[in-house]
Amino acid sequence: MKKLFRLSVGERGVRRDVSSEIGFHIEMRTRELVDAGVPPDEARSQAVATFGDVGAVEAACRDERRKHVRERAWREELDSVVHDIRFAVRTLGRSPGFTATVLLTLALGIGANSAIFSMVNGVLLRRLPYANADRIVIVQHPVASLGIEDAGFSPPEVSDFAQARSIDAIAEYHSMSFDLLGHGDPRRVQTGVVSADFFQVLGVKPLLGRAFTVGEDQDGAAPVLILSYRFWVNELGADSSIVGKTFTMNDRQHVVVGVLPPLPSYPDQNDVFMPISSCPFRARPFMKTTRTARMVSMVARARPGTPAATVGRDMAAIESRSHAAYPDAYKGLSDAAITATPLRSAMTESARPAFLLLLAVAGLVLLIACANVTHLTLARHLRRQRELAIRAALGAGRGRLLRQLITESLLLSLGGAALGLLVARTGIGAMSSLAARFTARASDIVLDWHVVLFTLGVAVVTGLVFGIIPAFVDSTDLVSRLRDGSATSSGAKLRLRSALVVGEVALAFVVLVSAGLTLRNLAKLINTNPGYDPQNVVTAHVDLNWTKYKNSPAVRQFASELMAGLEASNGVRSVAIASAFPASSSSPQNRNPFEVRGQLVADTLRRPKAEVTYISPDYFRTIGAELRGGRSFTESDRDTAAAVAIISESAAKRYFAAGDAVGRQITFDNGKRWLTVIGVVGDVRQFGPTADVAEQLYLPFAIFTVRDVRLLARTNVTPAVATNLIRQTVRAIDPEQPVVDIQTLEQARRNSMASPRLTTVLLGLFAVVALAIAAAGLGGVMAYSVGQRTQEFGIRMALGAERSSILRLVLGQGIRLAIVGLLIGGLASRALAHAIEKQLYGIRGTDPLTYAGVAILFVSVAALACLVPARRATAVDPVSAFKAS
């Protein structure tokens, strides 16, 4: 019996096998019956009859057979993949140097992208936790002539806008801080004050309890409170029985009716929410009728499918009708506009350009890593030529070899991606805390499955790229290699590798230039003369409770006790109270038009404008600003009838003739009250170093008293000690008064630079990685080239060439490659300059110093990278070089 294996796979084979098997059975049965004496013609039909339904049996067999063939094919496929992977792991394990280098390179390249993508994903891509997010528009009221982004709306105006046909709901909002009593220490809480339907409009369902209900925002409604998730967890220990408990606020009992789910801190970081009827300011009777009482913001829900722009146009039309109907209410607002911004853009606009720039640069770093890994792989294939040739000779087809090579590269890229995710994970905490300073969604920067999926995708593409390119290059000369088994077409390969290196250098140059530009930019911001001395000054936010400090004398009493108490403390050099301080905000908060006596301007829009700050006498001494002329405020400048003002240098220059400001008079209220300018003070960067110098006016706190003040203390002691002093002094005067936001003037200045800082730190890291990879690539190519030319160097030396000339030869070749890359990179950087310019404040995207610095750095690093192979070239022994050939 001769055995032969045949699992027929084709349909025809299956049919033939089955019918042959069953035919054999019938035949054997017939024969047996004949042997038993049955007549032959009867025997066959009897055999068929005992067999059963031949057709049905054959069909059943064929079904089994087909299933069998399919399953087997799958198993074989799986087996060969497993085999490929095992083989790849073994081969990679045999060259640990190569494997480690590639894994490290990819971990950095892919990790950079995963990290940046987690920011982009968290801030720009993730779904907002509002059911109606896509239909929510933020409506604002910018007044260009006043430099105000949003003048706000009055309740009568909100009622007008509610009529807009493009929307189906509108809610009002403002935020104030109040003291919250009950359940532990008194707390100062930021409170969102909203119309009852606010959460329904956004599409937010409370985690516990309920949202506000219709009527809860009407006068006389029982006071209720909804807690933010953060406040509930951090301050109340996530007390699950909190709904129904009461807090005292503004001398009234408020019942907690709900707790919100985690939400972005937008538009403000509110601790609690209350209906408008509970806000002592919003609930004043005149608010209902006074069109100029603009203190609230608007959130509208567009009808399904209606773009925000349509809502904007609709509302602008309503606004212009109001201008015509109530001219008195719009004095000075003739150039007010209405903008409607989709919620998502409003929340992410400020972060978008920086994030996209970072993503683009991270992409470049990955490209560099890819190029480098590609040519490492090429070099490795060269070393494996004989192995590959033998496997080809043993019958491995080109496709099979290609698959093996791609399995190896995919294994490497997936390993690199896994390490890259670790890299990203370590960076995420730092990134989100920096990002928190300029986007409300920073807490959404996490490593979720979107990021993992993105990383996986990047890894697969990367693995295919550096697996296929070298394999393709190799397969073209597989045949010739088979023939003579020697390194062939190495010239072509050197050219390809040189091209890869030039590309790497060019890309790295672009990365380094962008990092260099942001670094120079940050340095420039840091070195910008702020006009004050931010060292050794501690600031605190003291927002006095209005129910306790009902009038200005009470506030002034508190302020002078506080300042006196601090001044008496050891280590305190000077103390001031002010309504704002440098870098306490990034945009104008209190910009007002005024008139100069003798130069009256009827049109409010054309009047001079300045940011107005209320200060106590020692303010300039405390922040370290310099008086340029006249005098500063004194304790005696408290006479309302003879009010005084100090003007900033730039405002003095702009609105008065040189040296003419002191002694002149100005008015904010059409001459009802005149203030005499008594001094000129040097400009300070009031809105941080990234903003232009603002024209400013300072008025005495003793006359213009506000409840929400900042305390500033210049001390000889550490910030921690100063912080304690401030807390103790406030507690001694009023134990119920919270002190928040304690920070040094320097911290405030740094915080105002958070965005350029984040960009600089990340781009700096990318630059280091890019430079290291490109340098390694260059060194690698030079080493390869030196290896190829060993014989040539031997001959040269035998003919009397100096070692130094060989060194120069190799170095020159390497540096030439680098310079070609630099030139290409320089052109590319120039072309991309405008993209990065948006991130720069003080310098241009084509800043020559940056380009030159990066070029010099690059050439030096390139020379260093080539030094090792160059020295090896000079160490070639002529005799052994000949022998080796």
């Binding site: 055995k3 032969l4 035949e27 049905a56 049996v57 057979r65």
Partner: protein, 110 residues
């Protein structure tokens, strides 16, 4: 299927047993089952073949083509190592089952 009920899995275990001495073709397997059981099970001959193919797909049997005693090309089956293990397990299970049922049926009246 006429005659006494064929317990589920019985045909499979008989087939495995039939091929346990070496490569056997389908006809011989059927004949062996008929003879050794004295036709007691009355397997319809055709039912054998789908079962053979199923066992082959499960990896319990392995096929080979050879020339039969009559000189015709025939498909032979033989046990794979997995098939042999299966036969051992099934045989033990079957015996235990049969013993239990026998014990119960032979039990004396209470």
């Amino acid at each position: 299927m006429a005659g006494s009920d064929l317990f589920v899995g019985t045909l499979d275990v008989l087939i495995l047993k039939a091929v346990s001495w070496g490569p056997t073709h389908g006809y011989a397997i059927g004949r062996w089952i008929r003879q050794t059981t004295n036709d007691g099970l009355q397997v319809q001959e055709g039912a054998l073949y789908p079962a053979l193919h199923r066992l082959e797909r499960k990896g319990l049997l392995e096929e080979s083509w050879g020339v039969s005693e009559t000189g015709r090309e025939a498909k032979y089956y033989k046990l794979t190592p997995a098939g042999r293990r299966q036969l051992r397990a099934e045989a033990a299970r079957w015996r235990q089952y049969a013993d239990s049922v026998t014990l119960a049926l032979d039990a004396a009246e209470k």
